[in-house]
């Protein structure tokens, strides 16, 4: 299976096709509902963002608390479509990739095509298994959101399927 590393530059993105399975290694950032709301609010009001969105990969995930002796707890994907209203705006700020589960809206698909982004899905409801692929974990923004804070994760061979590629092709109907 193809292995890819962050940062994902345009050439790497263009070589990935909808339906392809890949292993991702490198740095990714969690962000889900409330973090997206705050990020987009910051973008709209011209405030400084707590992370560099350019070339970044966001994982729609809110992990459990970290059990003693572990790097992270269960950490699978949450439903991506709840982030659809925010996604075109963060893609416009240079976001490169997203990891989640389930389908996306037509607007998101168009925005992915326009900004040459990519949307991956990973094993849904398999948060225990996915925790094996996380090597480092730290909160870097919005700690008051608890599990919805932004975590910086160092991942190794994180299993993904390309769900919408840079040309806008989707594995979902």
């Amino acid at each position: 299976m193809k292995k890819i590393n962050t940062p994902l530059d345009l050439n790497k993105i263009k070589s990935l096709k909808a339906g392809q399975e890949v292993f991702l290694s490198g740095t990714i950032y969690t962000a889900r509902d409330q973090a997206h709301k705050q990020l987009v609010q910051a973008i709209k009001t011209g405030k400084r963002l707590p992370l560099e969105l350019k070339e970044a990969i966001i994982y729609y995930c809110g992990p459990t608390q970290t059990p003693k002796g572990k790097v992270i707890g269960s950490c699978g994907p949450t439903t991506s479509s709840r982030m659809d209203e925010f996604t075109p705006i963060v893609l416009g700020k240079g976001l490169r990739g997203m990891i989640g589960k389930g389908g996306r809206s037509g607007q998101v698909k168009n925005a992915i095509k326009k900004h040459k982004g990519i949307y991956f899905v990973t094993y849904a409801g398999c948060g225990a298994l996915l925790s094996k692929h996380v090597k480092k974990n730290k909160v870097i923004a919005y700690p008051d959101l608890g599990p919805e804070a932004i975590y910086e994760l160092e991942v190794k061979d994180f299993p993904l399927i390309v769900a919408i590629d840079a040309s806008g092709r989707s594995i979902y109907a």
């Binding site: 459990t64 948060g127 608890g146």
Partner: protein, 273 residues
């Protein structure tokens, strides 16, 4: 009259928190293994394998099966001849909060649905029933919200046909599509009132999903599995593992139908004290 200390209930609830979140139900595992054996689609097989591997790893490592450790829903059947010394509701919520903390589960509960705020571990949703006898039965269903979000209620006309009801149930599943972690378990409540139909739909998820289906359940399952949504929405013939229906008498003026969708990680655990 038999007496039971509320502290015993807190202890028992903590144990249920562990069991429900770390060990997938035996009937659900059985249904998943059967689906894995029956799928020919390569991708569907890969997805089902990941689900089974995840369940094994979670149990072995004492990790939550899913990071969404749910809104804890507790069903209580209280024997009318049992006296609880102490605060029953408080004891249950203490057990939830202490268990979720002890086992490093997720802070998923917003204390106010509108202002949200920093999420915490409790309270749970409590459904109380009074039954005969001097025992208490407690069942915990940690309900993930990806699938709860896809649940629906419809108030049909009393003259509506069975065909229309079936269409509605199938539409609810199609609407969930790939988003809510298929293969699903579909709980359906038919009759009663708006609230009671929804309660039955959720209670239906507690029944053994490998038990023989009624004709209506079997028929719905067959049609749902023809949608081709498949495990994790990536295609295949396993869109649902089971459809479970509960019915109750209703009013001449209506026909409530509620559908509660569960993701493949249908977790629950029960105990009798």
């Amino acid at each position: 009259m038999r007496e039971l200390k509320a502290a015993k209930i807190t202890q028992a609830v903590m144990e249920l928190v562990k069991r429900a979140n770390f060990s997938l139900r035996r009937d659900v595992l059985f249904a998943l293994r059967k689906a894995y054996a029956g799928e020919k689609n390569r991708r569907a097989k890969t997805m089902l394998k990941a689900i089974l591997d995840n369940a094994a790893y979670a149990k072995e490592e004492n990790l939550a099966i899913c990071q969404d450790t749910g809104m804890p829903v507790v069903f209580v059947q209280l024997g009318q001849d049992l006296k609880i010394s102490g605060n029953l509701k408080g004891a249950i919520n203490s057990g939830i909060a202490a268990g979720y903390k002890k086992y490093s589960l997720r802070n998923s509960i917003c204390s106010d649905p509108l202002s949200r705020g920093k999420p915490g571990l409790s309270p749970c949703i409590l459904h109380m029933d009074i039954v005969s006898g001097d025992k208490i039965k407690l069942i915990l269903l940690p309900k993930g919200f990806g699938c709860e979000n896809k649940s629906q209620l419809k108030m049909f006309k009393p003259t509506s046909s069975l065909k229309e009801i079936k269409q509605f149930i199938i539409e609810v599943v199609k609407n969930a599509g790939p988003d809510a972690c298929p293969p699903y378990i579909i709980g359906v409540g038919i009759g009663g009132t708006a609230d009671y139909a929804s309660l039955m739909a959720k209670q239906a998820l507690l029944t053994n999903i490998t038990k023989k289906n009624s004709k209506l359940e079997a028929d719905l399952l067959k049609q749902i599995n023809k949608t081709g949504i498949g495990p994790m929405g990536l295609g295949g013939k396993t869109t649902a593992l089971a459809v479970k229906i509960q019915k109750y008498p209703t009013h001449i003026t209506g026909l409530p139908v509620s559908v509660n969708i569960s993701c493949h990680a249908l977790r629950s655990a029960g105990i009798v004290l």
